[in-house]
């Protein structure tokens, strides 16, 4: 099976696996206690915090571990809004954020706050001028922008958004789930959320970074853990493994990201050459190194995913029939691109050139057969 769904989850990095097994034996005790095994667990936890902080360009005391990237986003968004309640109740976000941001925004709205959604162009990027205007409006408490889009890979103008936020005195929350460990992140943000299983760590670890001087108050009941930012007993072994994976990914990323990016370029060039009536989606240059999405006209997304699965390819799709909902992906809708016949290829570390070749070899005939079955003449 060629696994091309790294944007959903990256396979466990070998160094994370090794660290996880070792930490299960030595890092199981309660890091808040005072005896030997507890001190050992605390030391491992704090060492992991220092490593993650370094990789993300933060200070260790700004980093908290959550139970998922989704929880990091929920706490980041709602905590920053809560902390700035007196300044205003307005949240600015883009139309193509991950559902965790949109759902947190929904809670804020139900709680009496307002949400301003900035639209995107055909490539999926927000217009920096439109984002700036939205941020500068009176009563803005928080702005949210992803580092890169999870469905189409387009990189967002984080540096420009951060400059606008600095001008307005508004904190910027960056959802860096798709790029952490894969590409450098511009500075200037106040809150950052990421997810360890997207960079080769185990599931069950998210990262919430709240910069010094950023007002933040937990929206959840008080708890002593993680500097009162995240409730619940820390999963020390998984956190240790996550830090090992991030360190390894970041160390490899200069070479590996360039290699994967070249494979993505090949797919972006070859798919429209080999398959008629295909729209390759997202920015061809300003993009995450490992993600490429295209839509095939007159093809049902689910049929294509089923055929690709039979041929040994694990990919994902934003077409409506493939998701659990009846609606197509809100990202594709907001971009105004074809939502049916959609395929997202996201390459994990080590994805082979031969597998990409095989993908390009089987795809044209597959699409042709599905179109023929639907009565389309080629």
């Amino acid at each position: 099976m060629a696994y091309f769904d790294a944007a959903s989850t990256e396979p466990l990095h070998p160094q994370a696996r090794e660290a996880l097994i070792a930490a299960l034996d030595v890092g199981w005790a309660d890091p808040a206690r005072l005896y030997g095994p507890a001190r050992r667990a605390r030391m491992l936890l704090e060492q992991a915090r220092t490593e993650v902080a370094e990789a993300l360009g933060a200070r260790p005391d700004e980093v908290s571990f959550t139970s998922s990237g989704t929880q990091a986003v929920h706490l980041g968004v709602l905590g920053a809004l809560h902390g700035r309640r007196r300044v205003g109740r307005r949240l600015v976000t883009s139309a193509v954020e991950h559902s965790s941001v949109l759902h947190a925004a929904g809670v804020h709205e139900r709680d009496g706050g307002s949400v301003e959604t900035v639209g995107v162009g055909l490539t999926g990027a927000v217009d920096p001028a439109a984002f700036r205007e939205a941020v500068l409006a009176e009563g803005t408490a928080l702005a949210c922008l992803q580092s890169a889009n999870h469905e189409v890979g387009t990189v967002q103008p984080i540096a420009e958004a951060a400059a606008a936020c600095a001008e307005a005195g508004v904190p910027l929350l960056v959802d860096a789930a798709q790029t952490a460990g894969r590409m450098p992140l511009p500075g200037g943000w106040s809150v950052l959320a990421a997810s360890a299983h997207k960079w080769g760590g185990p599931a069950g670890v998210g990262v919430l970074v709240v910069r010094k001087g950023t007002r933040w108050r937990s929206p959840l009941p008080e708890d002593e853990r993680e500097r009162r930012r995240v409730p619940g007993f820390e999963n020390v072994p998984a956190i240790v493994a996550s830090a090992a994976a991030l360190r390894a990914m970041a160390a490899e990323s200069a070479g590996e990201s360039a290699r994967l990016s070249a494979l993505v370029d090949r797919i972006r060039t070859e798919v429209p050459r080999l398959v008629p009536d295909v729209e390759v989606i997202g920015d061809p240059v300003a993009r995450a190194p490992h993600i490429v999405t295209f839509s095939c006209l007159y093809v049902e997304g689910e049929a294509l995913l089923t055929e690709l699965d039979k041929a040994g390819f694990a990919v994902s799709s934003g077409s409506s029939c493939t998701a659990s909902t009846l609606r197509p992906s809100h990202v594709l809708e907001a971009m105004g691109v074809l939502t049916h016949g959609n395929v997202r290829v996201s390459l994990p570390r080590g994805a082979s050139s031969a597998d990409v070749d095989r993908f390009l070899a089987v795809l044209p005939d597959m699409v042709r057969r599905i179109r023929e079955d639907a009565g389309i003449k080629s």
Binding site: E279, R327, P328, L332, V337, L338, H340, A374
Partner: protein
């Protein structure tokens, strides 16, 4: 005729053909449109009635890819939309 004039005209021009794709899931409404747009003369309007949310995005996207003109989409009282497309060539 400029495209702005054409667009303004298209907004009032009655459709030469109506395709009933209500209850049909994408890509079927688009497949029907791609086939049947050839039955109307150039510059005529085809109205696609569809209630799959994907059609609302995908028909304008199809127009962009195929260089036809998406005139506008109007909500239908019973749910769904009448999506108007002008044949450009």
């Amino acid at each position: 005729m400029t495209s702005a004039q054409a667009a303004a005209e298209g907004a009032t021009q009655p459709p030469a053909l109506t395709i009933d794709a209500l209850g049909k899931k994408c890509p079927i409404p688009i497949i029907m449109l791609a086939e049947q747009i050839n039955y109307v003369p150039r510059n005529a309007i085809v109205s696609v009635l569809a209630d799959d949310p994907a059609a609302f995005t995908d028909i304008p996207a199809w127009c962009r890819l195929k260089s036809h003109h998406h005139v506008g989409s109007h909500e239908l009282p019973g749910g769904g939309w009448a999506i108007h497309v002008r044949r450009n060539y």
